[in-house]
Symmetry: D3
Subunit: 322 residues, 6 copies
């Protein structure tokens, strides 16, 4: 039984359809005082319920609001005697604020876990979570996660044998992710694919610039990250590739948040294509961008299969090919 809240409804319909289901019906009402009421319209007693809600946001559209709606709806499902409730989170808010960087900083991933568990969730399904360590340590209930890696490999399969491909991480922190993608892509191509990454250079304790480590001259570069926020990181990395003679530069990221001036930023010529999934609906981009530059891969099949396995006792590990 699958519910999808708010803006995640189209995504949820796609997932449900792939499982031969319709989305379960619910009511979402907003009141003038800013409060809301969400309730299932169908009997959920004894059912294995999945609630899809992507917790992205921007300055006007608060992930806090989405989170409370999810928490209260989970509460209502529990009170209506649902047997098991799994929160399906195509985009997990606050995953980048996963530890204290300044004194007394909030450990936000942990709080999010505590709140979901207090509401009554029995499991959580994430998607290329920014910090998997924090995610796995924060939750007491079992967590599962799926990855966009396979979707990207499939998309870039057409490059096989045609060009020299280099996988790149736009910063040092993402090298591990890029490395995993590089290996999977390489085993698909039957070839060793080199890795490159951007590295900060410092002078007198201040970050002075960035250097590209690795060889990209003449190559087709795929810059991989877990998310695109304002897009500047990607574009800066793409620019560096071009300067060093890269022929084509693709950006690939699971979550296309596109906050602030992202639409303008990613229009930069240095990037040939920006490949994302629909974990965050790309509604902040204009039609032209979406037609010409941004490629949106459908994550619904991945989620449908993961939900099927969680429901029936299948292995997510095997789904990911790990």
């Amino acid at each position: 039984m699958i519910f999808a809240l708010g803006a995640s409804r189209p995504f949820g319909e796609g997932v449900a359809a792939l499982l031969g289901l319709s989305l379960a019906q619910h009511e979402e009402r907003d009141f003038e005082d800013g409060e809301h009421k969400t309730r299932p319209l169908e009997n959920v007693r004894g059912r294995d319920v999945f609630v899809i809600h992507s917790l992205y946001g921007d300055a006007d559209d608060s992930p806090n609001d989405k989170l409370i709606r999810l928490l209260f709806f989970i509460g209502a499902l529990k009170d209506a005697s649902a047997a098991r409730i799994t929160a399906v989170l195509p985009y997990l808010a606050y995953a980048r604020k996963d530890r204290k960087t300044k004194p007394r900083d909030p450990v936000t991933t942990k709080y999010l876990a505590r709140l979901l568990e207090a509401a009554g969730v029995h499991g959580v399904l994430g998607f290329d979570v920014h910090n998997l360590q924090a995610f796995q340590n924060a939750f007491s209930v079992p967590t599962d996660h799926v990855e966009a890696k396979g979707l990207f490999v499939e998309y870039f399969a057409e490059l096989k044998g045609v060009e020299r491909v280099v996988v790149m991480s736009p910063d040092a922190g993402g090298v591990k992710r890029a490395e995993a993608f590089r290996q999977t892509l390489g085993s698909t191509f039957g070839a060793d694919i080199p890795l490159a990454f951007m590295e900060k250079t410092r002078s007198a304790g201040v970050v002075a610039g960035e250097t590209l480590v690795g060889e990209v001259g003449g190559a087709t570069v795929i810059i991989l990250d877990d998310l695109i926020s304002t897009g500047t990181t990607m574009v800066r990395a793409a620019g560096a590739c071009r300067e060093r003679g890269a022929q084509r530069v693709f950006a690939a990221a699971t979550h296309g948040l596109f906050v602030g001036d992202a639409a303008k930023v990613i229009a930069d010529d240095a990037l040939e294509k920006v490949v994302i999934t629909d974990s965050v609906p790309p509604f902040r981009l204009n039609d032209r961008l979406l037609r010409d530059k941004v490629v949106v891969l459908e994550a619904a099949p991945l989620f449908a299969e993961a939900i099927r396995r969680i429901h029936a006792g299948g292995s997510i590990v095997e789904l990911l090919g790990d």
Copy 2:
């Protein structure tokens, strides 16, 4: 040690000043992706910490957002080893959604309690909570609540001996609250003050109208409610009083939410004055209304004394004169 978040900062400063303190410093940062980070800037280890946050909202300013900020900040205080954390809520969101009225409705007060407790709160201080039963049953941690009754009695003290005063409830559900106010006011005035209330009349199962029960002819009527939302309930009751010959009509309510067209509605001539507290900042009203019609009583002294007693082991019960 007192923190006040966001728009509750001016209110909190008033409370702190009355206790001879300054508000403790914290940082609230908002990010472009709609996420935020709030952290205490002072050492809270082993301290008895109070966090003031009024959870009101309207269509643009979400109580959900305020609630998440409160929850995460409580989490950060707990992680920073605060000895005790009390959430001070001048206005408690979702208190009117305190039970299932339709199948599978959320029991929102309960969920709010679970979330605050999961975040790490040790106690909660409410203010004329809409449904005290739900509030007291929902929380596992001790709750306290204060009431505006004394502030209203003080404000209306000038009417003593001058005019015939009638206390009125704008609906049947508020009769208990009006009755308590009537008694306290009466013992201040040394006189028996009559009660009146509005009652729904029905025809063929549909609410057809309302009737005023009680005698208000020639009297000064104080219509008492816990909150003013759009203001229509108050104005309708005031109109009924006028029709039945009331000389003066005051509206008194603890929480002035003033959502939707409230500014226009309460401008109605039937109401002489609208007396509220500053539990919700009356920023949605224009200056003229605030100067001519709306009287804002300061709740800070009440909260300051309650916090002093909670901290020092005093009795809130005695503070309320119960």
Copy 3:
């Protein structure tokens, strides 16, 4: 698998029989020191177990005693590896003490919830619980409740088309309940049924008397309440109806506690019939009363169907026609 403790055994047998089952066997032993031992005599491992215990009492027969027996038996079921344990409470003790009316009052419904949950209950089924808000906010485990409304509608169906029926609440607090009954009865009768209620009148802050609000002259009045304790409330309301010219007056209440002098009180001629359910066995009434005046409706079919649905994943909401 259905157990019924102590005096609830006959009721439980009725419920079980309607489901084609026998009551599961258990042993209840009492010792000379006032302690007891209750244990299941059948294997409950992995079973979905329901325990029926009506927590009524009077001065000699303590609901406290019944509650401890229920709690310890639930503990024994949990230790014997029952998969799910639902407490079925035809009458819920302490439901009228649902909040603080005096300083430091116990919030008894909440404590009852905490104790049942600590014992190991997974769900609770109530029956016309006095304060549904407190009940729903107090429990963390899912709660369900059934209502006698349908039984009463069925019983009074014979009045359809024959007489002018008025539904009455014996006090202001019960208007909501009476209203719901009035609507259901009206839609059965295909007619609009008026509502009346008793209202307290005060003088100098003291309750001076009661007034009947509504038109009952020449009508057949059904006074509806959730429970009959000493019966005086019902009889006073009935007397008021008679004074105002009501032709026939019925009392209908889900729970017939009949404490104190209730047997004498309800013998009053003002009441034609007193209609109750068997949620509390009417053993405190003499045979003559039971033969001539008190009608006991069987709640077993309602409970049997509710248990069937809780077990099989059906909807209680739909059972109630909400």
Copy 4:
């Protein structure tokens, strides 16, 4: 701050007086439907509260009732913001039902622990608990216990040097307790005191009788047990001593329950004196017995000192001389 509920009030007054305090005030009201309401009449916020309630009972006076009153009162103390709540239990009910002896038996000590903890207790003080292992394993909160051993040693000090004293256990299970008493008494007397005990003899798998193991001829025998229920165990042991030539026979037991025909049983001449404490008020005994045979030692000084130490951080271990 010390409260004492119901019949434990006189005992509690004694304890409080020894600490230079009065008992804190509370209200206990009983209603006609068998429900009750207990609430503190004094401010308990931030206080270290002790609640004394001896959970004894007989067939008419249910320990279940006492237990619920204790649980609800603890709940009310917690809700009134008591800082710490210690349940002081001169007699702990259900301590003899500490494990499964038959299939699916309740593990009652554990359930009692879970309920007290769910109500909000922070610590428990017991008194010669029947099964210390079960008691210590069942509670998650810290437990303390005191022993009557010292009171008995003091009482029997007058026998020092006068007569040959033998300590006896009335059954095999109590040998450990008797042994501890024998040692303490011996070190007071500066002499080695022998031990005796009764042992069941069996024939064909049935208990056929009992044999006295040890030498009691010409001796003064002190039969020690934790409690006297019907008294038959004690009297049987005393009889055996007399048959074997004991000169004087005393019974000493911490808890004098005296259920059933105990008053008649202990009147038996075989017993010279029955020495108990006032953990259970000896109200079931007639004046003559109390004057001539039963000696009631005051446990209040022991409890007063234990409470003082628990409050001030002293050692109970050292109080017991262990």
Copy 5:
């Protein structure tokens, strides 16, 4: 689905084979820093998982180490979404340290219970646990236990009708266990089997020696205990039997720990045979002892049947014939 960790793997294979299964695969890796990693190699999502780990030890082989491995593996199973996890503990460590014998002693059985529950266990299966009361009171999750009694009865069945058999407890604390065995054996033999036991004698407060209570002259004595540690208790009891004219002396104990010089001790001629189960692998004994004196009964059939019943909802109580 059955896992068996470390040295319990052979035992687990036996259990699995009897259920027509293979042991589920897992990986156990040890690192140079003394840390380890254990993980299931098979999908466990939604499965009913049993983990067998016997927590015995000696000075070199720490039960602490075995316990942490069990706890972490249970954690990994929970995170991998196992539906139910039952810890199967042929030998439960720390069961003899079940209460405080000295001031501030650890209550180890309780801590073990808390840790297993914190790790995520849903049930525990024990085997002749030393202190059943402590075990049952310590765990919140349901516990089951099986007994070796039936295996011993079967083994000694050949003595039926041939010789006069006496059952003996090597100390006073084990009389209850010996009594239960005596009864079962007796009903198998169709004869009344006498009981004997060793009792400590004291002089001046010091244990001076032990006396054998009961008649063993000319008899075949079966000394029964729950475990053999160094073996001295058994050998001393056997010696006493021989002195009193016993013809043959068998030792029977569920758990053969054989720590210290046990191999040498039990070689003593006083004992004809030492009958144990394989709850602890008898690897500390040399081949000669195992061939000539020690009989190892297989407990696997008992565990296989218990696991089958726990999985399928059968009764352990009936399995034990209680």
Copy 6:
């Protein structure tokens, strides 16, 4: 009140002495069956208790054993009514196994947190924990951590102005730690100190070697890591520095585990000195190494001050200069 278990006793004595205290007394007994018993020998009721236990190990000395001893001792402290219990962990076991790297891997840091919390800990103090994110997300109770950075800065202060110093991370994962050290050292030296690090080079998907990134020619290099296990990482990095012309090479690491052949490895001439703290006693090194090459900085002052602040409500953040 400070306890130190087992091998951490000397370290604990140093800490206690700096606070003007003696270590609190406890008893640790080991039994022949590998079990143990640890109990406080002093009254801890109402005290603020710190337990120091460094959870290092090697193949013979199991951190599992240390962990169980810590958990059981915390349980005993809780049962003895300690007011607050803080686990002080100079070395935290399993911190490197902080997430799933293979399917169904244990999330060990989380399990460790759950176990410590189940035992009854109120806070944890760590020391240069390997993965601070995992650590902070895993614990529900407040955590604090201290860092050796200041000790190293102090030690290397003598290099100020004398030589060109470069700070180096021996792998990419430690760059963040090295960066923080570089900044603090630089602000002490009043100079900008460059950073270098080792980076893996790959060929065909396999790690082929490592390259040194940064300029170390003619410099004095301080290679910083959180721990030294076998020492090979450090020595390889030192060798690379030497090849690239470094004049002097120091290794600095908080935790000197020195497992396996570490003593031989770190004897390598490439390293001038190996600077560690005494979080792990360097007992695995021979005297010569300790005299000539390994410098052990005392962490006791840091811990003493942290404990003082945790006890008295001071700020650890300010202690670290953050």
